[in-house]
Symmetry: D2
Subunit: 356 residues, 4 copies
């Protein structure tokens, strides 16, 4: 068994990592750290995780972590690069769920207004969105197979949902102009910290847009579209995203509704998307006319995609749904780790969503 640690296990993505790793056939959970909750039973915070081993949170500097083969970092930005630096130095491979290894250094420093303190690691890191960037993850897996610790910077939840809906059309060079991306997220996207916004009585029976005019996730989406654009060997500028997130009263789940201004309508869009994801164990293009639902992917690494041509005025609408804590965070991190360690990509991720 490969020894795994979760750094920052008291947050929502951390708890989902614990749940998934505890039942993973190849990973053995060695440590779950939280400085704030160190010493406390994990089941005190999350009684759903009663019986998990180890039973208690330990501090971030738990020496057991340094003995692990892989550490999943479910920490805020800037904490990601801090832990990555000390862990890689100890030979531990890092799968980071923070924003610290997603973006080019200059883009990161501008978006987060902070200096990147692990630029060398960032250079060697791979962007962890397998459907967009599998080749780079495979290359990292090869490096890792030679005994070198590596770093994956897992994609954010909104960028994952958006890229899954956008990439096939953008890679094919069929999109020109501004892609409108109106997204809906469940409340867990705001994190575990109790605030007025996340109070049940505030979030319940409410829907709203937020984060306008510009959300911190926008540069990552533009980077994704550029990656897809250049993968397709297209010329000129890649399309840009106009991103507007909304909150709705559900715990988990994300809808990305993308309106793509297309250069031609004379394309079999359904087939384009089906071909793009053929054989992918997690991304399912629904039959023509079906709209994806968040409840269908909750708790999983799955994405459901609906393709709607004929919207009029030169637009094609593509809609994806994911679980923001699953394919948008913990489950995708495990998918990335499976690739790095050479396991079956679906290992530990076979669970289906509940029908209700």
């Amino acid at each position: 068994m490969v020894k795994a640690a979760v750094i920052g296990g008291a947050g929502y993505a951390g708890a989902e990592l614990v749940r998934l790793i505890a039942r993973h056939p190849e990973f053995e959970l060695i440590a779950v750290t939280s400085d704030a909750d160190a010493g406390n039973p994990i089941a005190d915070t999350y009684p759903a995780l009663l019986g998990v081993e180890p039973a208690c949170f330990t501090p971030h500097d738990d020496p057991a972590v340094l003995d692990c083969d892989v550490a999943f970092l479910a920490v805020p930005h800037t904490a990601g690069m801090h832990h990555a630096a000390r862990l890689v130095a100890a030979g531990v491979t890092v799968v980071d769920l923070s924003a610290d290894f997603r973006l080019p250094q200059d883009v990161y420093e501008a978006a987060y207004n902070v200096e990147h303190t692990a630029a060398d690691l960032l250079e060697g890191a791979a962007y962890g969105q397998p459907e967009l960037n599998h080749a780079a993850l495979d290359a990292l897996a090869a490096k890792h197979a030679e005994g070198e610790p590596v770093v994956v910077g897992c994609a954010g939840c909104y960028p994952t949902a958006v890229s899954l809906a956008a990439v096939p059309a953008v890679r094919a060079g069929l999109v020109s102009g501004t892609v409108i991306a109106d997204c809906i997220s469940g409340i867990s996207g705001a994190g575990k910290k109790p605030t007025y916004k996340t109070h049940y009585c505030s979030a319940n029976e409410d829907a709203q847009a937020y984060g306008l005019p510009l959300h911190r996730h926008a540069p990552e989406m533009d980077m994704e579209l550029e990656m897809a654009w250049s993968q397709g060997e297209n010329e000129g500028a890649a399309p840009k995203i106009l991103f507007t997130p909304h909150l709705a009263p559900l715990a988990r789940g994300m809808v990305a509704t993308l309106h793509l201004p297309v250069t031609t309508e004379d394309v079999d869009w359904q087939k384009l998307y089906e071909d793009a994801y053929a054989g992918n164990p997690f991304v399912h293009v629904l039959p023509a006319g079906k709209s994806p639902r968040t409840s269908s992917v909750a708790g999983t690494n799955n994405a459901h995609i609906g393709v709607f041509p004929n919207r009029g005025n030169g637009y094609v609408t593509v809609i994806s749904t994911i679980d923001n804590l699953g394919k948008g965070a913990a489950a995708q991190a495990i998918q990335c780790a499976n690739i790095i360690f050479g396991f079956d990509e679906t290992a530990g991720l076979e669970g289906m969503a509940r029908a209700l």
Copy 2:
């Protein structure tokens, strides 16, 4: 007191009409009809309405209705024109919440694939969205003051939310091209009929787009934009709407997020909207930077609007929230009736939303 009837009182819009009329200072509730529930206590269906008078549903052909001054029709399309014809013939003014008196005859017949059987009434009817069409409602009020029964075709819920967000910019001629309108509705928008879609276990913890590629409400929105465009004495074609509705797990509430492709960014958009709705008792433009919430308008005739310039790429985003059963249905119908009968436009509509 003006005698009022609710035709189709067993549905959600009907129940909201009953709640509002029962406490209206000028209207007296005479009859609440439902063929399916005739004879049953209203409080059996809606225990919240315990104590309301009359206590029981009567059939649609209840003769008491013919004695009323006004009838609110909360019935499906085609039933609206049927009841309107027989009621106007009896001298009863009609405020119709169905789709039957909203659209020009040809547009209606194409959208609903049915013949309009009351074309003469349709010709004389006014579109019931006061912020867009107050002059026509005033003209109808004058006709009514002369003793003539009149017909108002109240705006739909999505069109109301969309037009409130679009009209000031469109009327000013500042919008060119396709307006993207991504909207979120609470589950009551699907009506009271129990279906798999409206089952708690299906709707709960789910968000999804629906009604694609084309929703029946789209022609009404295009009509609204044309009205606003011509009110501004603009030339050329009015902008068109690309409308995509979504469901989220709330009972009541609607968000309309509009991305307006603008012809210039050199406009004080906040001021444009504030001026457009200055003095309006129901439509509130929030301070710059604030995003409206559905919970803030639930149970009321209010609309909250947030204006977000600087979205990049030539777009201005305007977001409105309403209660789909309030400003989107029953409360707006009462606002229209207040205008027709010459009452204070806010009569019976003063209630504030609950803070939670």
Copy 3:
């Protein structure tokens, strides 16, 4: 107009007081205080209250409060007696929603483990549960009519729901032994403070008992049963309550399910309850066989009661539903104030619950 202040207007009960007073025909809202939010627009915290006057929170020591005729205290326990002392000294009548004026001094000090610093006021205060204690409130109204400021200690939410279900049978001397009271509260009962427990993602899709073995509200319930018992001129010990509260994922609402061990089953229980509440504008005994719902009373001062004899083994089950922020807090406080000021008891409390 009678000048009214809300002390502690930033919490949930405070916000509900503001909503109700702003539309009350006899009270004029002069000040809404919050030390933490002083200077901020009320609509920043509660956009539903946009347009209310005054528009901003002021600090607790706002001199305008001392000019008021009545102050509603929506503050934590111990803060209630502090503000009551200074306000009564300034001639302001106090309607306190904290626990400070509900219990006899010794019971209070034992339950809250704190000294009561306004024992003289407590002595003269009346327990604010009109259905149980109308005579004492009438007596206070007489005192107030002579120009003396008075203090009402409004009943708690759980005690209100429990007493409405228990009092008629207990007063009639038909109950002997331990009354089981299993109650369900919406999340607003836990207050506005964001905590892990009130986080949407924790409260959603969860139900649980809490506060065991003994909840702070229990002594107040025992006091109520003793009041009812002695009102009926019964001998021996009054029955006691075994109280167990539960949380369910709704914002507002409370169910009290009481199992009464009865001394005889040979009673027309339905009639007993109907007679007890005959003419009461707020408490409605449902037709035999109907079970009350929280949604039917949300946002109101109403209580719905269902009476179920024939449960077997000598038990009668009586179930009441209220809105914990309405009849359980803000609305009942206004009912008490209406009595004290000699207004119609229903003034400002006429609104019906929404049917959904």
Copy 4:
């Protein structure tokens, strides 16, 4: 692999069976039947189950079912005995989730007011609540090992939750008199059929008791207490249950709050329950003072139990939570099947609940 069919796979319990069997290490899903949905993709009804094999519903008389080793019946009462008879005749072992094989014939016929048409099968069937009745299930497993098809009548959801909380104290002879059982169920307990009661807008923001005065599940609970009472070799009459179910707005989950009138308080209740469930892989007695939550067991076969002595007046309160579709239906059925087929009792049931 053991061949398994789900009869009645379109309902909620059926869908949960499909989800669990599809990932079970020992069962292979051969057929999922529904007369109403025959021929339709399962994923049309439940997109969460996209990718499951077989992909489509077949009719109940699908011959493939007769080739199976085991059939799980997720059908209404009376349909259970019908299918059991024809399947056992074909040599198929039956795990029935309907009420048809839970009760003695006379009790069944009285409770459901219908003749039992498979009395011989009922005689040989075992009541499927392993924590209460493991010996009988083991005996059935021995019979099955000899090649004989057998029938398990799985316990109902409320009875499972109630018995887990009651049995240790009742078996020990420490309870005398009426056990009050106030329970809360999620909306899925009302089944998949869309009704006014299960409409999102009706169930949302509502809590209520229902099914009074007497619920059909009560006789099953009394039977359970009698089984436990006699297992403890106690004399006299077993205690009886006074059962009151409530609905709360969650999809899945059940709380059973039991107030046990105990014959002595001089017992280590916590230890009594811990010992009773020691080694049980599914039933977890929480540390003293902790109250169980429904969210902690959703989607699993787990039960969480909290024990609260010192409630006063001779009562001990014991609270259990289960998932009504998990331990209360589909997962417990699989646990029973695991026992019958000699598999590890936890096979296919290892998944932990989501922390949110």
